[in-house]
């Protein structure tokens, strides 16, 4: 079970039409090398699940500008004007989701749950088309899991078993997406043949299928 592969091998796994979860928050903690390689490869008709759509010149925003997404699910697209333009022009379907709901939807996919109840979005446009369930007199929206073919995430360090640790605010959606897609690929700054301390490692290696080194 060798999880370490090259960036090329990783990107070759992704096919036209696939659904991708991509970690990062306004490009901070995004798997930048994987994204750049995916831009180069030009894989089309992808669906993006990400906190935001980055900037025109960084992170997932480059994939937006390169028109590789037919659908974007995000909590915020305001920092990348091209996403808004594509949405207004009907070129790309955009689903705006509250950030906490997005995080829980991803977690549900990883955890095998069928959904969860949240007060967020009750009485707003987010409610449209969703079941409203009342528990103990409080109204909640039933939000469902978001499934994906690939989770492309970033971590500070991986051991060869796929256990991960994060640094600073680069963790954000990365550890939530680990294990939430059929295949999880992590881009790391450091790779270690030595096992991480089991008390300190944050993401279990069972959630991680492949590891690539940044810039490799």
């Amino acid at each position: 079970m060798n999880k370490l592969i090259s960036i090329e091998e990783a990107i070759d796994k992704i096919k036209d039409g696939d659904v991708l979860m991509i970690g990062g928050f306004l490009s901070v903690g995004a798997p930048l090398t994987l994204i750049d390689k995916l831009v180069e490869k030009g894989t089309k008709n992808l669906t993006l699940i990400c906190n935001d759509s980055g900037f025109v010149d960084s992170g997932v925003g480059k994939l937006v500008v390169n028109k590789q997404f037919s659908k974007v699910i995000a909590s915020h697209i305001g920092t990348n004007k091209e996403t808004g333009r594509q949405m207004m022009a009907g070129e790309t379907e955009v689903i705006l989701t509250p950030q906490g709901t997005l995080a829980e939807q991803v977690r549900c996919a990883c955890y095998g749950l069928g959904g969860f109840l949240t007060r967020t979005g009750v009485g707003t446009a987010v409610q449209e088309g969703k079941d409203v369930i009342e528990v103990d007199g409080v109204k909640y929206l039933l939000e469902k899991p978001l499934h994906a073919d690939f989770a492309l995430i970033f971590a500070q360090k991986a051991d060869k078993y796929g256990n991960l640790v994060y640094h600073g605010a680069a963790q954000n959606f990365n550890s939530v997406m680990a294990g939430a897609a059929t295949t999880t690929i992590v881009e790391v700054l450091e790779y270690s043949e030595e096992a991480l301390n089991p008390d300190v490692a944050e993401t279990p290696g069972v959630f991680v299928d492949y590891i690539v080194k940044r810039g490799a």
């Binding site: 906190n51 697209i77 906490g100 949240t118 007060r119 009750v122 009485g123 605010a169 954000n172």
Partner: protein, 220 residues
């Protein structure tokens, strides 16, 4: 007051709402300024929805770390006692009522405590980010904004823009006064001595209930 003075005045007044031990989330723009006026005798921790508690000021060149940024993507620092976590935990903290206070700007607020601050259909659709979660989840929601937008009213009988959340706003702080959202309607509890109640009412669509205990809005 010019725009800068107005914003400073509002931020200073909002800072009076902070209590020792509070966990606070500040929205972008005007609300961010509140961090500059935390009373010295109060230990307040700021939460950043991208994944930490303990948001500190802009780093010096030496402190700079590209992976420590605020929810706007700008470099910041983390204070002693702070902690980083993932987005699910971040919103667990927000939704679970572990944020004592959130301060946000708004495009519109109304007499029912509804707030609209995330889109103008056909014009501006940035998305709600974490705002819906914060407004639904925080124990107390303060809207901090200029009383009007280029002369047109922002405090309305009913919001016309898509809502960010329904019935969640507790307090509205503007340069004209401090307004509590109650079941009976909007109660003017403090007024900037520069204005009369009539002037405030003229720029506020719903009828204001003037508190019997109306106080002057004062900042140091």
């Amino acid at each position: 007051m010019d725009k800068e003075n107005i914003q400073e005045f509002i931020a200073k007044r909002v800072a009076q709402e902070l209590h020792d031990g509070d966990v606070v989330n500040l929205g972008i723009g005007l609300p961010t300024l509140v961090a500059n006026y935390v009373p010295h005798d109060k230990a307040v921790m700021f939460q950043s929805e991208n994944g930490f508690v303990g948001l500190g000021p802009t780093p010096t060149e030496e402190q700079f770390d590209p992976y420590i940024t605020n929810a706007g993507g700008k470099p910041v620092t983390i204070k002693k006692g702070g902690i980083f976590f993932d987005s699910a935990t971040s919103f667990g903290i927000i939704r679970g009522g572990h944020v004592d206070l959130t301060v946000l700007g708004a495009l519109q607020v109304d007499a029912k405590g509804n707030i609209a601050n995330y889109m103008i259909p056909g014009k501006m659709v940035p998305g709600m980010g974490g705002a819906m979660d914060l407004i639904s989840g925080a124990k107390k929601v303060i809207v901090a904004m200029e009383h009007t937008a280029k002369g047109s009213m922002k405090i309305l009988k009913e919001c016309s823009l898509p809502l960010t959340a329904a019935n969640e706003v507790n307090l509205i702080v503007t340069e004209m006064g401090v307004i509590e959202v109650t079941e009976k309607g909007l109660v003017l509890v403090e007024i900037n001595p520069e204005f009369s109640v009539e002037q405030v009412q003229d720029l506020t669509e719903p009828e204001l209930i003037v508190s019997e205990d109306l106080k002057p809005m004062e900042v140091e």
